[in-house]
C-alpha cells in the first residue's frame, strides 16, 4: 500500500539488524567454530584451526553415533504417532458433538504446558520407581518396572511426553477440517460414498496443506527436544535418551568443547535442513492446494 521504500525499510530494520546480529552472524560463526578446537574457558584467539577434524572425530565417537541413532529413533517414532493421533482425535472431535470446546481445551492444554520444567518433573515422578505408574501397576498385581533406569523404557517415557502434547497439532487439524466445505460431503453422500471412503477421498487430500504444516513443525521441534530428556533422564541410562541437543549442550557447556559442540550443532542443522528440503520438494506430489496461492505471501513462502 505504501510505496515509500525508505520508510518501509525502517519498519523492517529491526528484523534485518536482529537477523544479522543474532541469527546470521552466529550461524556463520558456529560453522567457523566447528573447524577449530575452541574451548569455553580460553580466549577465542588461542583456538587452533583444525579443519574438518571435529567432523571426522564424529566417525570415531561412539557417544555421537549412539546419540544420532537415539535422536532418529525418537523423531521417527514421535512425529508419525503424534500426527496420526492428533488427526484421529481431530476427526472424532469434528463430528458435531456437544462440548467439543471442552474436549479441545482438555487436549490442547498439555501442549501449552508440556515444555515446562514443572511438567518434566511431574513426568519424572510419574515414571519413578515408586511413582504413579508403578503404584497403579502394583494395584493390579503387576510388578513395577524401573522405567527411568532401563534404556528402552527411559526412552519410552520421553516419547510419551511428546505424544502427550499432540494438542497443538490437533487444533491445527481441527481448523483445517472446519475449512472443508460441508457440501463436498453431502455430494459424496449422494454418490453413495462410505464414511471411510469420504475420509480417504475428500478429507485427507484437502487436509494435506495442514498436514504438511504440522509435519514440518513437528519434525523441526522433535529434533530440538531438550527439556524432557535433560530433566527426566539426564540422557541416560547408558545414553539411551541422549538426544543430540543434549549432547550439543553438554559438549559445549559441561565439557567446554566449543568446537566439537558447534560441529555437532551443524550436523543437527543439516539433518533438519535435509528433512525440510525433502518435505518442501516433495510437496508438489502430495500436497493439494485448492486454489493457487497467487503471491499471497509475498511469493516467498513456498
Amino acid at each position: 500500500m505504501f510505496n515509500d521504500k525508505k520508510i518501509g525499510s525502517l519498519y523492517v530494520a529491526p528484523f534485518v539488524i536482529g537477523f544479522l546480529l543474532f541469527t546470521a552472524f552466529p550461524f556463520v560463526a558456529s560453522f567457523v567454530l566447528s573447524l577449530t578446537d575452541a574451548q569455553l574457558q580460553d580466549q577465542l584467539g588461542s583456538a587452533n584451526f583444525t579443519g574438518i577434524q571435529n567432523y571426522t572425530e564424529m566417525g570415531r565417537d561412539a557417544t555421537f553415533q549412539k546419540s544420532l541413532g537415539v535422536t532418529f529413533f525418537y523423531v521417527f517414532i514421535t512425529v508419525p504417532l503424534k500426527l496420526a493421533f492428533a488427526l484421529f482425535i481431530a476427526v472424532v472431535l469434528n463430528f458435531k458433538l456437544r462440548a467439543i470446546g471442552f474436549f479441545r481445551t482438555a487436549y490442547y492444554l498439555p501442549s501449552i504446558l508440556g515444555g515446562s520444567v514443572a511438567i518434566a518433573i511431574v513426568w519424572r515422578f510419574v515414571f519413578a520407581g515408586d511413582g504413579l505408574i508403578n503404584q497403579a501397576l502394583e494395584m493390579i498385581g503387576i510388578t513395577g518396572v524401573n522405567w527411568l533406569g532401563e534404556p528402552n523404557t527411559a526412552m519410552f517415557s520421553i516419547i510419551l511426553l511428546r505424544l502427550w502434547q499432540f494438542g497443538s497439532a490437533m487444533v491445527v487439524f481441527l481448523a483445517g477440517l472446519k475449512a472443508i466445505p460441508e457440501d463436498l460431503y453431502e455430494a459424496a453422500d449422494l454418490d453413495g460414498a462410505s464414511r471411510l471412503r469420504q475420509f480417504w477421498m475428500i478429507t485427507l487430500p484437502l487436509l494435506t496443506p495442514v498436514l504438511f504444516f504440522n509435519f514440518i513443525m513437528q519434525i523441526v521441534q522433535a529434533f530440538q527436544e531438550f527439556n524432557g530428556p535433560y530433566i527426566i533422564t539426564g540422557g541416560g541410562p547408558l545414553k539411551s535418551s541422549y538426544l543430540l541437543p543434549l549432547m550439543i549442550y553438554e559438549e559445549g557447556f559441561k565439557y567446554f568443547n566449543l568446537g566439537y559442540s558447534s560441529a555437532l550443532s551443524w550436523v543437527l542443522f543439516v539433518i533438519i535442513a535435509v528433512f525440510t528440503a525433502i518435505a518442501f520438494w516433495s510437496q508438489k506430489h502430495w500436497v493439494f492446494y485448492a486454489q493457487d496461492r497467487e503471491d499471497k505471501n509475498g511469493g516467498a513462502q513456498k
Partner: protein, 291 residues
C-alpha cells in the same frame, strides 16, 4: 423375514446414539488419562509425602498445606517468591518487546514495497525452521563479550529485534486479511503510516497481538535452556531453574514440596490458558490454515 427386517431397523434406529456414546466414551477416557498427571500433581501438592507414595488417587485424604509451606521456603536462602519475581522480570519485558517489534516488522512486510522483500521474507521463514542450538555457542560468546553473562539481557534483548519469525508471520497473516480500504481511509483522514499502525491496524488486530503475547509468555515461562546457560547466581534464577535445582537437592524425600512448587509454577500459565484459550487457538491456526 419381516421380523428380522424390523429388528434390523430397530437396531439401526439406535445406531447414532451408540455411535455418539462410543465417541464420547473414547474422548472422555483419553481426556481423563491425559489430564491425570496434572490432577495428580495438583492433588499431590496437598498430600503428605507418605500419601503420595501409597495412593494413586488424586484427591488428598487429609489435605495439608505442608508442601506449599516448605516448598515456598525452598532449600536455598531465597523463597520461591524470589524466583517467581525473577521469572516475571524476564517474561514481562520479553513479551512487551516481542509484541512491539513483531508488529512493527510485520507491518513493514505486509504493507510496504521494500527492496528485497521476497528474500527477507524467505529469511524470516527460515528462522522458524532453524534449530536454535546452531546459534547457541556463538550467541553465548557474543553475550560474554558484551558483558551480559548472569544478566537477563541475553534472554530479552534479541526479542526486541523480531527474531521469532513465527510471531511476525502470524501477525503478517492477520494484517493481510484486513481490508486495505480501512487503512486508506485513515491515510485520507490524515494519518502517517505509523499512526495508521498504532491507531487503526494495531487495535483491529488486537486478537493476534494477544495471541503473540500469550505464546511468548508461555514459551518464556517454559524456557529452560537459555537461563541455564546465561544465569549463574541463584538469586537471579527464574522458576524453571529453581525447580530443577530443587529436584537435584530434595527429590528423594519431599515430593509434595516439589509438586506444590510445580503447581505454583504452572498456575500463571494454567490461568491464562483458561481465560484466553481462544487466542491460542486463533494464533496457532492462523499460520497454518490461512497460509
Amino acid at each position: 423375514m419381516s421380523q428380522s427386517a424390523t429388528a434390523d431397523a430397530g437396531w439401526r434406529k439406535h445406531l447414532p446414539v451408540i455411535n455418539a456414546f462410543m465417541r464420547y466414551g473414547i474422548l472422555i477416557i483419553i481426556g481423563f488419562m491425559m489430564l491425570y498427571p496434572l490432577f495428580w500433581m495438583i492433588g499431590g501438592s496437598f498430600k503428605n509425602n507418605q500419601e503420595i507414595f501409597s495412593s494413586i488417587g488424586f484427591i488428598p485424604k487429609e489435605p495439608t498445606l505442608d508442601g506449599f509451606k516448605k516448598g515456598w521456603e525452598t532449600s536455598t536462602e531465597y523463597t520461591f517468591a524470589t524466583y517467581l519475581i525473577n521469572t516475571m522480570k524476564i517474561v514481562v519485558p520479553k513479551v512487551i518487546v516481542t509484541v512491539i517489534s513483531s508488529v512493527i516488522v510485520a507491518y513493514g512486510f505486509a504493507r510496504f514495497a521494500i527492496p528485497g522483500r521476497k528474500l527477507l521474507f524467505a529469511l524470516l521463514m527460515a528462522t522458524v525452521l532453524l534449530p536454535k542450538s546452531v546459534l547457541l555457542i556463538p550467541q553465548y560468546l557474543m553475550f560474554r563479550e558484551f558483558g551480559w553473562l548472569d544478566t537477563y539481557l541475553p534472554l530479552i534483548a534479541p526479542q526486541a529485534f523480531a527474531v521469532e519469525g513465527f510471531f511476525v508471520f502470524m501477525i503478517i497473516q492477520f494484517m493481510r486479511s484486513l481490508p486495505m480500504e480501512m487503512e486508506e481511509a485513515a491515510v485520507m483522514d490524515g494519518c502517517n503510516s505509523f499512526q495508521v499502525l498504532t491507531l487503526v491496524v494495531a487495535p483491529v488486530i488486537l486478537p493476534a497481538i494477544i495471541s503473540v503475547a500469550l505464546f511468548q509468555f508461555m514459551w518464556s515461562m517454559n524456557d529452560f535452556l537459555q537461563p541455564l546457560i546465561y544465569l549463574s547466581s541463584v538469586e537471579k534464577y527464574p522458576v524453571a531453574l529453581a525447580l530443577k535445582m530443587s529436584i537435584d537437592v530434595t527429590e528423594a524425600t519431599s515430593w509434595n514440596e516439589i509438586l506444590a512448587m510445580s503447581t505454583i509454577a504452572l498456575a500463571p500459565s494454567l490461568i491464562l490458558f483458561f481465560v484466553a484459550q481462544r487466542y491460542f487457538v486463533e494464533g496457532i491456526t492462523s499460520g497454518a490454515v490461512k497460509g
